[in-house]
Amino acid sequence: MDDALTIHRLHFAFTITYHYLFPQLTMGLAPLVVVFKSLALWKGDERYNRAARFWAKIFAVNFLFGVVTGIPMEFQFGTNWARFSQFSGGVIATALAMEGVFAFFLESSFLGLFLFGEKRFGQRVHWLAAFMVFAGSWLSGYFIIVTDAWMQRPVGFELAADGTAHLVSFWALLFNEWAFWQYVHNMGGALVTGSFVMAAVGAFYLLSRRQEEYGRLFLKVGVTAAVAASCFQLFPSGDRHGKLIAEHQPATLAAMECLFRTQPGAPLVLVGQPNVAEQKLDNPIHVPKALSFLTYQHWEAEVKGLDAFPRDRWPDNIPLLYYSYHIMVGLGSIFIAVTSVAAFLLWRQRLYGARWMLWILMLSFPFPYIANTAGWMTAELGRQPWLAYGLMRTSEGFSPTVSSGNGLFTLIGFMGMYFVMGVLFLFLMWREVGHGPGFLDGHESKTPPSARILPEGAGA
């Protein structure tokens, strides 16, 4: 337990993983809130506003937790990874600093207006505020992905005389091809989380027979967004992201697929257990030649295995990388299946009465969180053993003066703090969902059935 490298890695991994539980929901919900505000303006129906207000409350709590757990991230580059910061600050700090001035100011200013200003400034300003919060949170995502993309595929820099990286092309950094596909894949993932949560709340309301008009609305919007986002994750975003990995990090691709030997017509592994000691996959079930086809559009194409790379360039935890990747892909496939069936039922106007489907939707909302986390673990474990791919090893990047004991102390401190915050968060979410949109002004909605947004049983 006194290995400083391990502790600094765990420190960052734990705090970033916990942090990202919140932004994935806020980034996923933000466009859906804009949808509700737009519907309210367009149709002039107050109930869309109530729906927006309800999700704004969920959004606000998540945003708060995202902000407070996000501040440590901006600091941890320096506190725990000082040598890496010194090495790469000339490049990645451009993206991080731009995130601060362009995105954080935007979202935080307009969030205040969005949460506090509806009555005071009227519906048009409120719509604008909602839109700006959406724009700010999505912009913020882009800058942070640019930072990670540079670590995955360094571009637009040169090594200065003192060995540190200096930026030579601003646009190359900002429009790194890797950043683009990673961004759309990541935002698609956030939308999957946001829409699954919305659908789950909707299903919960229908199953528990309260707030039913809002339950139907949330199901309709949630399921529609979820099916679109889930398919988008497979194609084009996931597919293109995978091809970039094949091109720029072939060793990573081999480890993700647990392909130890270079071969033409490489199979796609569905399940199996990596056995690194004997360099093989135990008990595999695979689709012959499918990996070659998916990667190079050619059934007989040669795919490089781990044997094509020196051992010190292999990702250092191949089983974890392999399982993370397969959990992400497996869950993604299940999402497509579930949301397709739900969307079909919605289209045939049978969803609201299909209790079995409502149960599935209500219980499935944790899985997008797992898939997003597993996806990020795939990206970051796949980057190993490098901090900046091909330039600096992870073992060279941590702070020279911060002892493992101090690192462990603050790691445990964060764990304690985040545990308490997690309990608080779940408690508050449970309360808000329990209240529901119809309770917002203290009593349940008394809208007569005929005037409801979506008549019972109507799907489209």
Binding site: R53, A60, G78, T79, M98, G100, L115, R431
Partner: protein, 354 residues
């Protein structure tokens, strides 16, 4: 170019201190000034829509520091590891204190978060002050430009100091006094009636503490680090800064007595800008002096990033900060005027206490 970025980063830190400073100050005085649920809610409404945006100046300043002086960022953030982690935890607690108290309508729940909010604000003020004290005093840098400071050693200002020694503790208390007055001044602007009167009494009483601590900590600074006077010797115009600080204190007294609330708040902004600006002026071109060997010290020349980055950065920084100032102007104008009990903010806020 290095000097320009030095000024820009200093500007962002001043903006942070002046803006989030009043949120923290409101947090500090929250318990003494606001009595009963209605008044507490009012004081929180006085910062509710803006505190999060104000805090962003800290993140943005840290980002700009990382961008312009990566070596300094790496060295100081790892060297100040323990106090920074404590600051991060306090920032989390403060944020939750502000936002979560209204979510459950229960006196015990609210009192708990009021306490978290006040305690975290108070400790943050002290730690920020101590941080400034550490930077001015210098740290035990090694030949490679790194260091690690324990939270305290023997409380002496020696070659191996701790985060807290007698000097940095003094600066920490000064920051505490400063933000108390600053927060009370903000409440003068935003509230009325009895609540405002109580805030005024706090501001007036703490004014004495502020003046005496300003004088003693400036004297201590000259004693601990006589080099701070060098730049004032070289550029005589620099004396404008201490004069502005003195003038702002005198003017604040006058403004309190005459109930010129906007002027009082303005004078504490000038005071904060003057103190931090003066520190920056005195430090230039040093960023982090060494208590070990003076040649190990970090300056804007040995810590800066590449010239290309700095030039390109100027373009996006000016654009980004111009936009940010635009949003802030819009936001503050939107919420200008006193907070009053009867007007619900609508939407989320009106129902926050359900």
């Amino acid at each position: 170019m290095e000097t320009l970025w030095f000024i820009l980063v200093a500007f962002m830190l001043v903006a942070y201190a002046a803006l989030d400073g009043f949120d923290l100050g409101v947090g500090i005085v929250h318990h003494f000034v606001a009595r009963g649920e209605d008044e507490r809610r009012l004081t929180l409404r006085a910062i509710g829509p803006v505190w999060d945006g104000n805090e962003v100046w800290l993140i943005a300043a840290a980002g700009a520091l990382f961008f312009a002086f990566p070596k300094l960022y790496a060295s100081s953030f790892s060297g100040f590891y323990l106090p920074l982690m404590i600051v991060l935890w306090l920032l989390m607690l403060r944020g939750m204190g502000v936002e979560l108290r209204g979510h459950v309508d229960d006196p015990l729940w609210r009192s708990f978060f009021d306490f978290i909010f006040s305690a975290a604000s108070l400790l943050l003020a002290v730690f920020y002050g101590a941080a400034v004290g550490n930077v001015v005093r210098g740290v035990p840098l090694n030949a490679e430009g790194y260091f690690f400071e324990a939270l305290w050693t023997d409380f002496r200002v020696g070659p191996a100091p701790g985060i807290l020694d007698w000097y940095t503790s003094l600066v920490g208390l000064l920051a505490f006094a400063t933000l108390t007055v600053h927060g009370a001044n903000w409440l003068l602007l935003k509230t009325e009636g009895e609540l405002q009167e109580r805030a005024r009494r706090v501001a007036q009483k703490c004014w004495w503490a502020l003046v005496s601590m300003t004088a003693s900590s400036l004297a201590a600074t000259v004693y601990v680090r006589p080099q701070v006077l060098d730049n004032f010797g070289r550029h005589a115009w620099g004396w404008v800064i201490p004069l502005a600080v003195a003038a702002s204190l005198i003017f604040m007294r006058y403004a309190h007595a005459r109930r010129r609330d906007a002027a009082a708040f303005f004078s504490s902004v000038v005071y904060i800008a003057g103190m931090l600006g003066g520190a920056a002026f005195a430090m230039h071109p040093h960023l982090l002096p060494a208590t070990t060997d003076p040649s190990y010290g970090l300056t804007i020349y040995n810590s800066r990033t590449g010239a290309y980055s700095l030039s390109v950065g100027l373009v996006w920084w000016l654009l980004g900060v111009a936009l940010a100032i635009g949003y802030f102007t819009f936001l503050y104008r939107s919420f200008r005027g006193k907070v009053r009990p009867e007007e619900g903010g609508g939407g989320y806020e009106a129902h926050a206490g359900d």
